[in-house]
Protein backbone atom coordinates (compact mmCIF):
# COMPACT_ATOMS: atom_id res chain seq x y z
CA UNK A 1 0.00 0.00 0.00
CA UNK A 2 2.80 2.37 0.92
CA UNK A 3 4.42 1.91 -2.46
CA UNK A 4 1.33 3.40 -4.09
CA UNK A 5 1.79 6.59 -2.17
CA UNK A 6 5.22 7.33 -3.52
CA UNK A 7 4.43 10.94 -4.22
CA UNK A 8 2.26 13.06 -1.99
CA UNK A 9 0.92 14.75 -5.09
CA UNK A 10 -0.57 11.52 -6.45
CA UNK A 11 -2.10 10.88 -3.07
CA UNK A 12 -3.69 14.29 -3.09
CA UNK A 13 -5.22 13.84 -6.52
CA UNK A 14 -6.71 10.53 -5.50
CA UNK A 15 -8.24 12.21 -2.48
CA UNK A 16 -9.69 14.92 -4.66
CA UNK A 17 -11.32 12.30 -6.87
CA UNK A 18 -12.79 10.38 -3.94
CA UNK A 19 -14.06 13.54 -2.32
CA UNK A 20 -15.62 14.61 -5.62
CA UNK A 21 -17.44 11.27 -5.83
CA UNK A 22 -18.65 11.72 -2.28
CA UNK A 23 -19.82 15.25 -2.88
CA UNK A 24 -21.82 14.16 -5.91
CA UNK A 25 -23.27 11.19 -4.05
CA UNK A 26 -24.36 13.25 -1.07
CA UNK A 27 -25.21 16.57 -2.70
CA UNK A 28 -28.78 15.65 -3.69
CA UNK A 29 -29.53 14.37 -0.21
CA UNK A 30 -28.23 17.48 1.52
CA UNK A 31 -29.95 19.59 -1.07
CA UNK A 32 -33.27 17.97 -0.16
CA UNK A 33 -32.59 18.46 3.51
CA UNK A 34 -31.58 22.09 3.13
CA UNK A 35 -34.71 23.04 1.23
CA UNK A 36 -36.94 21.26 3.69
CA UNK A 37 -36.30 24.34 5.86
CA UNK A 38 -37.09 26.81 3.10
CA UNK A 39 -40.01 29.09 3.79
CA UNK A 40 -40.13 29.96 0.09
CA UNK A 41 -42.07 26.87 -0.91
CA UNK A 42 -39.85 25.80 -3.82
CA UNK A 43 -36.57 23.97 -4.29
CA UNK A 44 -34.82 27.17 -5.36
CA UNK A 45 -34.30 30.62 -3.86
CA UNK A 46 -33.88 29.88 -0.20
CA UNK A 47 -35.93 32.57 1.50
CA UNK A 48 -35.85 31.85 5.18
CA UNK A 49 -35.77 29.19 7.82
CA UNK A 50 -39.01 27.49 8.73
CA UNK A 51 -40.22 24.26 10.27
CA UNK A 52 -43.63 24.57 8.62
CA UNK A 53 -43.03 21.65 6.28
CA UNK A 54 -42.26 19.37 9.19
CA UNK A 55 -45.42 20.56 10.90
CA UNK A 56 -47.30 19.81 7.73
CA UNK A 57 -45.89 16.29 7.65
CA UNK A 58 -46.88 15.63 11.22
CA UNK A 59 -50.33 17.11 10.71
CA UNK A 60 -50.99 14.92 7.67
CA UNK A 61 -52.77 11.90 9.16
CA UNK A 62 -53.03 10.16 5.81
CA UNK A 63 -49.28 10.38 5.42
CA UNK A 64 -48.67 9.16 8.97
CA UNK A 65 -50.90 6.15 8.34
CA UNK A 66 -48.86 5.41 5.23
CA UNK A 67 -45.63 5.65 7.24
CA UNK A 68 -47.15 3.25 9.75
CA UNK A 69 -48.20 0.89 6.92
CA UNK A 70 -44.67 0.94 5.56
CA UNK A 71 -43.12 0.15 8.94
CA UNK A 72 -45.61 -2.63 9.67
CA UNK A 73 -45.02 -4.19 6.27
CA UNK A 74 -41.23 -3.87 6.66
CA UNK A 75 -41.07 -5.37 10.14
CA UNK A 76 -43.58 -8.15 9.50
CA UNK A 77 -42.16 -9.12 6.14
CA UNK A 78 -38.56 -9.13 7.33
CA UNK A 79 -39.40 -11.16 10.43
CA UNK A 80 -41.33 -13.75 8.45
CA UNK A 81 -38.83 -13.85 5.61
CA UNK A 82 -36.01 -14.29 8.13
CA UNK A 83 -37.72 -17.40 9.50
CA UNK A 84 -38.34 -18.74 6.00
CA UNK A 85 -34.86 -17.80 4.87
CA UNK A 86 -33.16 -19.53 7.81
CA UNK A 87 -35.20 -22.65 7.09
CA UNK A 88 -34.21 -22.33 3.45
CA UNK A 89 -30.52 -22.02 4.27
CA UNK A 90 -30.79 -25.07 6.54
CA UNK A 91 -32.58 -26.94 3.78
CA UNK A 92 -29.90 -26.09 1.23
CA UNK A 93 -27.17 -27.00 3.69
CA UNK A 94 -28.80 -30.35 4.44
CA UNK A 95 -29.21 -31.41 0.86
CA UNK A 96 -26.32 -33.73 0.23
CA UNK A 97 -26.28 -33.86 -3.55
CA UNK A 98 -24.26 -31.05 -5.06
CA UNK A 99 -26.55 -30.80 -8.08
CA UNK A 100 -29.71 -30.38 -6.04
CA UNK A 101 -27.91 -27.83 -3.93
CA UNK A 102 -26.91 -25.83 -6.99
CA UNK A 103 -30.41 -26.01 -8.42
CA UNK A 104 -31.87 -24.72 -5.17
CA UNK A 105 -29.32 -21.93 -5.08
CA UNK A 106 -30.05 -20.98 -8.68
CA UNK A 107 -33.80 -20.89 -7.96
CA UNK A 108 -33.07 -18.90 -4.83
CA UNK A 109 -31.17 -16.30 -6.83
CA UNK A 110 -33.84 -15.86 -9.49
CA UNK A 111 -35.70 -13.23 -7.49
CA UNK A 112 -32.47 -11.49 -6.52
CA UNK A 113 -31.40 -10.87 -10.09
CA UNK A 114 -34.83 -10.37 -11.62
CA UNK A 115 -35.71 -6.79 -12.45
CA UNK A 116 -38.36 -5.40 -10.14
CA UNK A 117 -40.76 -4.73 -12.93
CA UNK A 118 -40.88 -8.43 -13.73
CA UNK A 119 -41.24 -9.46 -10.12
CA UNK A 120 -44.03 -6.93 -9.74
CA UNK A 121 -45.83 -7.92 -12.92
CA UNK A 122 -45.62 -11.65 -12.27
CA UNK A 123 -46.79 -11.26 -8.68
CA UNK A 124 -49.67 -9.14 -9.91
CA UNK A 125 -50.74 -12.01 -12.18
CA UNK A 126 -50.23 -14.52 -9.38
CA UNK A 127 -52.29 -12.62 -6.82
CA UNK A 128 -55.05 -11.93 -9.30
CA UNK A 129 -55.30 -15.60 -10.28
CA UNK A 130 -55.23 -16.90 -6.72
CA UNK A 131 -57.80 -14.28 -5.80
CA UNK A 132 -55.87 -12.34 -3.19
CA UNK A 133 -57.25 -8.85 -2.94
CA UNK A 134 -54.63 -6.26 -3.76
CA UNK A 135 -53.73 -4.35 -0.64
CA UNK A 136 -52.05 -5.13 2.65
CA UNK A 137 -51.91 -8.92 2.18
CA UNK A 138 -50.58 -8.82 -1.36
CA UNK A 139 -47.92 -6.25 -0.50
CA UNK A 140 -46.88 -8.23 2.58
CA UNK A 141 -46.66 -11.49 0.63
CA UNK A 142 -44.66 -9.82 -2.14
CA UNK A 143 -42.21 -8.33 0.34
CA UNK A 144 -41.75 -11.65 2.11
CA UNK A 145 -41.24 -13.34 -1.23
CA UNK A 146 -38.45 -11.07 -2.45
CA UNK A 147 -36.72 -10.89 0.94
CA UNK A 148 -36.40 -14.65 1.51
CA UNK A 149 -33.52 -15.20 -0.95
CA UNK A 150 -31.54 -12.34 0.59
CA UNK A 151 -31.81 -13.90 4.03
CA UNK A 152 -30.75 -17.25 2.60
CA UNK A 153 -27.69 -15.65 0.99
CA UNK A 154 -26.77 -13.98 4.27
CA UNK A 155 -27.24 -17.06 6.46
CA UNK A 156 -25.78 -19.73 4.19
CA UNK A 157 -22.10 -18.68 4.44
CA UNK A 158 -22.33 -18.78 8.24
CA UNK A 159 -23.82 -22.27 8.11
CA UNK A 160 -21.13 -23.46 5.73
CA UNK A 161 -18.45 -21.95 7.89
CA UNK A 162 -19.63 -23.93 10.91
CA UNK A 163 -17.72 -27.11 11.46
CA UNK A 164 -19.89 -30.22 11.35
CA UNK A 165 -17.92 -31.69 14.25
CA UNK A 166 -19.83 -29.33 16.55
CA UNK A 167 -23.09 -30.98 15.60
CA UNK A 168 -21.55 -34.44 15.94
CA UNK A 169 -20.20 -33.54 19.35
CA UNK A 170 -23.58 -32.25 20.49
CA UNK A 171 -25.31 -35.38 19.22
CA UNK A 172 -22.75 -37.62 20.91
CA UNK A 173 -23.33 -35.79 24.14
CA UNK A 174 -26.98 -36.67 23.88
CA UNK A 175 -28.53 -33.50 22.49
CA UNK A 176 -31.82 -33.98 20.73
CA UNK A 177 -32.30 -32.69 17.19
CA UNK A 178 -34.17 -29.65 18.50
CA UNK A 179 -31.39 -28.97 20.99
CA UNK A 180 -28.80 -29.10 18.24
CA UNK A 181 -30.77 -26.57 16.26
CA UNK A 182 -31.62 -24.16 19.07
CA UNK A 183 -28.48 -24.49 21.19
CA UNK A 184 -25.74 -25.05 18.63
CA UNK A 185 -26.69 -24.03 15.11
CA UNK A 186 -28.90 -20.99 15.69
CA UNK A 187 -26.54 -19.26 18.18
CA UNK A 188 -23.65 -19.82 15.81
CA UNK A 189 -25.37 -18.37 12.75
CA UNK A 190 -26.96 -15.51 14.69
CA UNK A 191 -24.85 -12.76 13.06
CA UNK A 192 -25.97 -14.06 9.68
CA UNK A 193 -29.59 -14.07 10.81
CA UNK A 194 -29.35 -10.49 12.06
CA UNK A 195 -27.65 -9.36 8.88
CA UNK A 196 -30.34 -11.09 6.85
CA UNK A 197 -33.09 -9.47 8.89
CA UNK A 198 -31.58 -6.03 8.44
CA UNK A 199 -31.10 -6.50 4.74
CA UNK A 200 -34.70 -7.69 4.41
CA UNK A 201 -35.81 -4.65 6.37
CA UNK A 202 -33.96 -2.23 4.12
CA UNK A 203 -35.14 -4.01 0.99
CA UNK A 204 -38.69 -3.75 2.15
CA UNK A 205 -38.35 -0.08 3.10
CA UNK A 206 -36.57 0.66 -0.15
CA UNK A 207 -38.88 -1.16 -2.48
CA UNK A 208 -40.94 0.83 -4.87
CA UNK A 209 -41.51 -1.05 -8.10
CA UNK A 210 -42.85 -4.33 -6.75
CA UNK A 211 -45.17 -2.58 -4.30
CA UNK A 212 -46.33 -0.26 -7.06
CA UNK A 213 -47.57 -3.26 -9.02
CA UNK A 214 -49.25 -5.22 -6.26
CA UNK A 215 -50.80 -2.43 -4.23
CA UNK A 216 -54.41 -1.73 -4.95
CA UNK A 217 -56.43 1.40 -4.53
CA UNK A 218 -56.56 2.76 -1.04
CA UNK A 219 -53.42 1.05 0.22
CA UNK A 220 -50.08 2.67 -0.18
CA UNK A 221 -46.55 2.56 1.14
CA UNK A 222 -44.26 5.50 1.49
CA UNK A 223 -42.35 4.95 -1.74
CA UNK A 224 -45.53 4.69 -3.78
CA UNK A 225 -46.95 7.76 -2.08
CA UNK A 226 -43.80 9.78 -2.73
CA UNK A 227 -43.90 8.70 -6.36
CA UNK A 228 -47.45 9.87 -6.88
CA UNK A 229 -46.74 13.15 -5.08
CA UNK A 230 -43.51 13.76 -6.96
CA UNK A 231 -45.29 13.24 -10.26
CA UNK A 232 -47.50 16.16 -9.36
CA UNK A 233 -44.47 18.36 -8.86
CA UNK A 234 -42.36 19.65 -6.04
CA UNK A 235 -43.77 20.03 -2.57
CA UNK A 236 -41.44 20.81 0.27
CA UNK A 237 -43.30 18.54 2.65
CA UNK A 238 -41.74 15.70 0.64
CA UNK A 239 -38.37 17.26 1.45
CA UNK A 240 -39.20 17.31 5.13
CA UNK A 241 -40.39 13.74 4.95
CA UNK A 242 -37.25 12.61 3.13
CA UNK A 243 -35.06 14.31 5.71
CA UNK A 244 -36.81 12.31 8.41
CA UNK A 245 -36.41 9.13 6.36
CA UNK A 246 -32.76 9.93 5.80
CA UNK A 247 -32.17 10.24 9.53
CA UNK A 248 -34.04 7.01 10.12
CA UNK A 249 -31.94 5.27 7.46
CA UNK A 250 -28.72 6.46 9.05
CA UNK A 251 -29.84 5.03 12.37
CA UNK A 252 -30.67 1.73 10.69
CA UNK A 253 -27.32 1.62 8.92
CA UNK A 254 -25.44 2.37 12.11
CA UNK A 255 -27.35 -0.44 13.79
CA UNK A 256 -26.53 -2.77 10.94
CA UNK A 257 -22.89 -1.73 11.05
CA UNK A 258 -22.59 -2.54 14.74
CA UNK A 259 -24.26 -5.90 14.31
CA UNK A 260 -21.78 -6.60 11.56
CA UNK A 261 -18.90 -5.50 13.71
CA UNK A 262 -20.02 -7.96 16.33
CA UNK A 263 -20.09 -10.62 13.66
CA UNK A 264 -16.56 -9.49 12.75
CA UNK A 265 -17.33 -9.09 9.10
CA UNK A 266 -16.79 -6.08 6.90
CA UNK A 267 -20.01 -4.54 5.59
CA UNK A 268 -18.88 -4.71 1.99
CA UNK A 269 -18.67 -8.46 1.83
CA UNK A 270 -22.00 -8.72 3.59
CA UNK A 271 -23.89 -6.98 0.86
CA UNK A 272 -21.98 -8.71 -1.86
CA UNK A 273 -22.39 -12.28 -0.77
Amino acid sequence: MASQRTSSRGWKWSNVYLIAVFVVLYAPIFFLTLYSFNSGGAMHDFEGFTLDWYKEVFADTRLLIIVLNTLVIALLSSALSTILGVLGALAIQHVRRRRTQNTLLALNNVLIVSPDVIIGASFLILFTIVGIKLGFVSVLLAHIAFSVPIVVIMVLPKLEEMSSTWIDAARDLGASRTDVLTKVILPYIRPGIFAGFFMALTYSLDDFAVTFFVTGNGYSTLAVEIYSRARQGISLSINALSTLIFLFTIILVIGYYFINQRGNRPPGTEVQQ
Partner: protein
Protein backbone atom coordinates in the same frame (compact mmCIF):
# COMPACT_ATOMS: atom_id res chain seq x y z
CA UNK B 1 -28.74 -35.60 10.32
CA UNK B 2 -31.42 -38.04 9.35
CA UNK B 3 -33.48 -37.92 6.20
CA UNK B 4 -36.55 -36.92 8.15
CA UNK B 5 -35.20 -33.62 9.52
CA UNK B 6 -33.78 -32.65 6.17
CA UNK B 7 -37.19 -32.94 4.57
CA UNK B 8 -38.80 -30.84 7.27
CA UNK B 9 -36.56 -27.87 6.51
CA UNK B 10 -37.21 -28.22 2.85
CA UNK B 11 -41.01 -28.08 3.01
CA UNK B 12 -41.56 -24.35 3.64
CA UNK B 13 -38.64 -23.37 1.49
CA UNK B 14 -39.71 -25.52 -1.43
CA UNK B 15 -43.23 -24.12 -1.07
CA UNK B 16 -41.77 -20.63 -1.34
CA UNK B 17 -39.79 -21.58 -4.44
CA UNK B 18 -42.80 -23.11 -6.15
CA UNK B 19 -45.20 -20.30 -5.25
CA UNK B 20 -43.01 -17.26 -5.78
CA UNK B 21 -40.28 -18.32 -8.16
CA UNK B 22 -41.58 -21.07 -10.44
CA UNK B 23 -45.26 -20.10 -10.59
CA UNK B 24 -44.69 -16.42 -11.45
CA UNK B 25 -42.32 -17.28 -14.29
CA UNK B 26 -44.73 -19.90 -15.62
CA UNK B 27 -47.60 -17.42 -15.38
CA UNK B 28 -45.66 -14.77 -17.28
CA UNK B 29 -44.99 -17.22 -20.11
CA UNK B 30 -48.61 -18.42 -20.04
CA UNK B 31 -50.05 -14.91 -20.17
CA UNK B 32 -47.81 -13.93 -23.04
CA UNK B 33 -49.80 -16.36 -25.18
CA UNK B 34 -53.09 -14.52 -24.78
CA UNK B 35 -54.27 -11.31 -26.35
CA UNK B 36 -56.20 -8.56 -24.62
CA UNK B 37 -59.52 -10.36 -25.18
CA UNK B 38 -58.21 -13.55 -23.63
CA UNK B 39 -57.84 -15.53 -26.86
CA UNK B 40 -54.91 -17.89 -27.34
CA UNK B 41 -52.55 -16.36 -29.85
CA UNK B 42 -48.96 -15.78 -30.82
CA UNK B 43 -49.79 -12.27 -31.98
CA UNK B 44 -48.01 -10.73 -28.98
CA UNK B 45 -44.77 -12.26 -30.13
CA UNK B 46 -45.26 -11.16 -33.72
CA UNK B 47 -46.04 -7.64 -32.61
CA UNK B 48 -42.94 -7.63 -30.44
CA UNK B 49 -40.90 -7.99 -33.62
CA UNK B 50 -42.45 -4.95 -35.25
CA UNK B 51 -40.30 -1.81 -35.63
CA UNK B 52 -42.05 -0.06 -32.73
CA UNK B 53 -40.97 -2.60 -30.14
CA UNK B 54 -37.65 -3.31 -31.78
CA UNK B 55 -36.74 0.37 -31.66
CA UNK B 56 -37.80 0.48 -28.02
CA UNK B 57 -35.71 -2.60 -27.22
CA UNK B 58 -32.70 -1.15 -28.99
CA UNK B 59 -32.96 2.22 -27.28
CA UNK B 60 -33.48 0.48 -23.96
CA UNK B 61 -30.30 -1.48 -24.56
CA UNK B 62 -28.43 1.60 -25.66
CA UNK B 63 -29.35 3.51 -22.50
CA UNK B 64 -28.57 0.55 -20.27
CA UNK B 65 -25.22 0.23 -22.04
CA UNK B 66 -24.43 3.92 -21.57
CA UNK B 67 -25.42 3.78 -17.92
CA UNK B 68 -23.25 0.72 -17.32
CA UNK B 69 -20.21 2.19 -19.10
CA UNK B 70 -20.38 5.51 -17.28
CA UNK B 71 -20.93 3.80 -13.93
CA UNK B 72 -17.91 1.61 -14.53
CA UNK B 73 -15.74 4.53 -15.64
CA UNK B 74 -16.54 6.45 -12.49
CA UNK B 75 -16.75 3.52 -10.09
CA UNK B 76 -13.55 1.70 -10.98
CA UNK B 77 -11.11 4.49 -10.04
CA UNK B 78 -13.21 5.26 -6.98
CA UNK B 79 -13.10 1.62 -5.85
CA UNK B 80 -9.37 1.48 -6.53
CA UNK B 81 -8.72 4.61 -4.50
CA UNK B 82 -10.96 3.32 -1.74
CA UNK B 83 -8.76 0.28 -1.29
CA UNK B 84 -5.84 2.66 -0.78
CA UNK B 85 -7.45 4.74 1.96
CA UNK B 86 -6.70 4.29 5.62
CA UNK B 87 -10.17 3.60 7.01
CA UNK B 88 -11.45 1.80 3.97
CA UNK B 89 -14.35 0.01 5.64
CA UNK B 90 -15.67 3.31 6.90
CA UNK B 91 -15.28 4.97 3.51
CA UNK B 92 -16.97 2.02 1.87
CA UNK B 93 -19.86 2.28 4.30
CA UNK B 94 -20.16 5.97 3.45
CA UNK B 95 -20.25 5.12 -0.26
CA UNK B 96 -22.96 2.53 0.28
CA UNK B 97 -25.00 4.71 2.62
CA UNK B 98 -26.77 6.72 -0.12
CA UNK B 99 -27.85 3.48 -1.74
CA UNK B 100 -29.87 2.68 1.37
CA UNK B 101 -31.93 5.76 0.82
CA UNK B 102 -35.03 5.19 -1.20
CA UNK B 103 -34.14 5.89 -4.80
CA UNK B 104 -37.38 7.75 -5.27
CA UNK B 105 -36.17 10.41 -2.91
CA UNK B 106 -32.93 10.71 -4.82
CA UNK B 107 -34.77 10.99 -8.12
CA UNK B 108 -37.00 13.58 -6.53
CA UNK B 109 -33.98 15.59 -5.41
CA UNK B 110 -32.90 15.83 -9.02
CA UNK B 111 -36.26 17.30 -9.95
CA UNK B 112 -35.21 20.26 -7.84
CA UNK B 113 -31.54 20.28 -8.82
CA UNK B 114 -32.15 20.08 -12.55
CA UNK B 115 -35.32 22.15 -12.69
CA UNK B 116 -35.61 25.34 -14.72
CA UNK B 117 -34.84 27.46 -11.65
CA UNK B 118 -32.72 24.79 -9.97
CA UNK B 119 -29.21 25.14 -8.66
CA UNK B 120 -27.55 23.69 -11.73
CA UNK B 121 -29.30 26.15 -14.01
CA UNK B 122 -28.47 29.00 -11.65
CA UNK B 123 -24.81 27.95 -11.84
CA UNK B 124 -24.94 27.75 -15.62
CA UNK B 125 -26.35 31.25 -15.72
CA UNK B 126 -23.59 32.64 -13.52
CA UNK B 127 -21.02 31.10 -15.83
CA UNK B 128 -22.73 32.88 -18.70
CA UNK B 129 -24.03 29.76 -20.41
CA UNK B 130 -27.63 30.58 -19.67
CA UNK B 131 -30.52 28.43 -18.59
CA UNK B 132 -30.86 25.08 -20.26
CA UNK B 133 -33.56 22.47 -20.37
CA UNK B 134 -31.91 19.74 -18.30
CA UNK B 135 -34.84 17.89 -16.87
CA UNK B 136 -36.66 15.61 -19.30
CA UNK B 137 -33.62 15.06 -21.50
CA UNK B 138 -31.53 11.99 -22.26
CA UNK B 139 -28.67 13.53 -20.35
CA UNK B 140 -30.61 13.87 -17.12
CA UNK B 141 -31.91 10.32 -17.45
CA UNK B 142 -28.44 8.85 -17.89
CA UNK B 143 -26.94 11.08 -15.20
CA UNK B 144 -29.50 10.22 -12.54
CA UNK B 145 -29.35 6.53 -13.39
CA UNK B 146 -25.56 6.51 -13.16
CA UNK B 147 -25.84 8.37 -9.87
CA UNK B 148 -28.16 5.72 -8.49
CA UNK B 149 -26.15 2.75 -9.74
CA UNK B 150 -22.62 3.85 -8.86
CA UNK B 151 -22.56 2.24 -5.39
CA UNK B 152 -23.63 -1.08 -6.89
CA UNK B 153 -20.71 -0.93 -9.28
CA UNK B 154 -18.20 0.19 -6.65
CA UNK B 155 -19.04 -2.63 -4.27
CA UNK B 156 -18.14 -5.70 -6.38
CA UNK B 157 -15.11 -3.97 -7.90
CA UNK B 158 -13.92 -3.01 -4.43
CA UNK B 159 -14.32 -6.58 -3.23
CA UNK B 160 -12.39 -7.91 -6.23
CA UNK B 161 -9.59 -5.39 -5.66
CA UNK B 162 -9.43 -6.34 -2.00
CA UNK B 163 -8.99 -9.99 -2.88
CA UNK B 164 -6.10 -9.19 -5.19
CA UNK B 165 -2.65 -9.74 -3.78
CA UNK B 166 -1.02 -6.27 -3.62
CA UNK B 167 2.47 -7.70 -4.03
CA UNK B 168 1.54 -8.50 -7.64
CA UNK B 169 1.44 -4.78 -8.35
CA UNK B 170 4.82 -4.29 -6.74
CA UNK B 171 6.17 -7.21 -8.75
CA UNK B 172 4.89 -5.73 -12.00
CA UNK B 173 6.34 -2.33 -11.14
CA UNK B 174 9.67 -3.84 -10.13
CA UNK B 175 9.82 -5.66 -13.43
CA UNK B 176 9.57 -2.33 -15.18
CA UNK B 177 5.89 -2.10 -16.11
CA UNK B 178 4.48 1.40 -16.35
CA UNK B 179 1.47 2.19 -14.14
CA UNK B 180 -0.81 1.93 -17.18
CA UNK B 181 0.65 -1.44 -18.24
CA UNK B 182 0.36 -2.69 -14.67
CA UNK B 183 -3.27 -1.72 -14.64
CA UNK B 184 -4.04 -3.11 -18.08
CA UNK B 185 -2.12 -6.38 -17.79
CA UNK B 186 -2.29 -7.15 -14.07
CA UNK B 187 -4.91 -5.28 -12.05
CA UNK B 188 -7.77 -5.20 -14.51
CA UNK B 189 -7.59 -8.88 -15.57
CA UNK B 190 -7.45 -9.91 -11.93
CA UNK B 191 -10.53 -7.91 -11.05
CA UNK B 192 -12.53 -8.79 -14.14
CA UNK B 193 -14.98 -10.87 -12.12
CA UNK B 194 -15.81 -7.91 -9.94
CA UNK B 195 -16.31 -5.80 -13.05
CA UNK B 196 -18.59 -8.46 -14.51
CA UNK B 197 -20.62 -8.69 -11.32
CA UNK B 198 -20.90 -4.91 -11.22
CA UNK B 199 -22.00 -4.73 -14.85
CA UNK B 200 -24.65 -7.36 -14.17
CA UNK B 201 -25.82 -5.45 -11.14
CA UNK B 202 -26.19 -2.28 -13.19
CA UNK B 203 -27.15 -3.41 -16.68
CA UNK B 204 -30.10 -5.61 -15.80
CA UNK B 205 -31.90 -3.12 -13.55
CA UNK B 206 -31.04 -0.35 -16.02
CA UNK B 207 -32.88 -2.25 -18.75
CA UNK B 208 -36.03 -2.26 -16.73
CA UNK B 209 -36.05 1.14 -15.05
CA UNK B 210 -39.42 2.73 -15.22
CA UNK B 211 -39.71 5.10 -12.33
CA UNK B 212 -36.76 7.27 -13.34
CA UNK B 213 -37.90 7.39 -16.93
CA UNK B 214 -41.25 8.71 -15.76
CA UNK B 215 -39.97 11.25 -13.25
CA UNK B 216 -36.71 12.44 -14.78
CA UNK B 217 -37.00 11.71 -18.48
CA UNK B 218 -40.63 12.81 -18.66
CA UNK B 219 -41.69 9.82 -20.79
CA UNK B 220 -39.18 10.84 -23.44
CA UNK B 221 -37.19 7.68 -22.84
CA UNK B 222 -39.22 4.49 -23.11
CA UNK B 223 -37.42 1.45 -21.79
CA UNK B 224 -38.63 -2.13 -21.66
CA UNK B 225 -39.50 -1.58 -18.02
CA UNK B 226 -41.65 1.42 -18.83
CA UNK B 227 -43.43 -0.58 -21.52
CA UNK B 228 -44.18 -3.44 -19.13
CA UNK B 229 -45.53 -1.04 -16.54
CA UNK B 230 -47.63 0.70 -19.18
CA UNK B 231 -49.14 -2.55 -20.41
CA UNK B 232 -49.87 -3.95 -17.00
CA UNK B 233 -51.11 -0.91 -15.16
CA UNK B 234 -52.33 1.53 -17.79
CA UNK B 235 -53.59 -0.22 -20.93
CA UNK B 236 -54.31 -3.49 -19.06
CA UNK B 237 -52.92 -5.48 -21.98
CA UNK B 238 -51.30 -8.10 -19.77
CA UNK B 239 -50.52 -10.38 -22.71
CA UNK B 240 -48.25 -7.86 -24.39
CA UNK B 241 -46.70 -6.83 -21.09
CA UNK B 242 -45.98 -10.47 -20.28
CA UNK B 243 -44.43 -10.95 -23.73
CA UNK B 244 -42.01 -8.09 -23.14
CA UNK B 245 -41.28 -9.54 -19.70
CA UNK B 246 -40.50 -12.92 -21.27
CA UNK B 247 -38.00 -11.22 -23.57
CA UNK B 248 -36.49 -9.35 -20.67
CA UNK B 249 -36.07 -12.61 -18.74
CA UNK B 250 -34.46 -14.27 -21.76
CA UNK B 251 -32.10 -11.33 -22.25
CA UNK B 252 -31.28 -11.38 -18.57
CA UNK B 253 -30.50 -15.10 -18.64
CA UNK B 254 -28.31 -14.56 -21.70
CA UNK B 255 -26.37 -11.81 -19.95
CA UNK B 256 -25.88 -14.07 -16.93
CA UNK B 257 -24.54 -16.86 -19.10
CA UNK B 258 -22.34 -14.51 -21.14
CA UNK B 259 -20.82 -12.74 -18.18
CA UNK B 260 -20.29 -16.13 -16.62
CA UNK B 261 -20.14 -17.31 -13.03
CA UNK B 262 -23.01 -17.44 -10.65
CA UNK B 263 -25.20 -14.43 -10.08
CA UNK B 264 -24.01 -11.93 -7.58
CA UNK B 265 -26.13 -9.84 -5.34
CA UNK B 266 -27.46 -6.66 -6.83
CA UNK B 267 -28.72 -4.22 -4.35
CA UNK B 268 -30.85 -2.09 -6.52
CA UNK B 269 -34.36 -2.35 -7.52
Amino acid sequence: MSVKSRNLYLIPYAAWIILFVVAPIALIVYYSLFDIEGKFTFSNYSSFFTPVYMRMTLSSFWYAFLITVFSLLIAYPAAYLLTRTKHKQLWLLLIILPSWINLLLKAYAFLGLFGTYGIVNAALETFGIGRQQILFTDFSFVFVSVYIFIPFMILPVFNALEKMNPSLIDAARDLGASPWTTFRRVVFPLTINGVKAGCQAVFIPALSLFMITRLIAGNRVITLGTAIEQHFLVTQDWGMGATIAVFLVVIMALIMVLTGNRPKREVSR
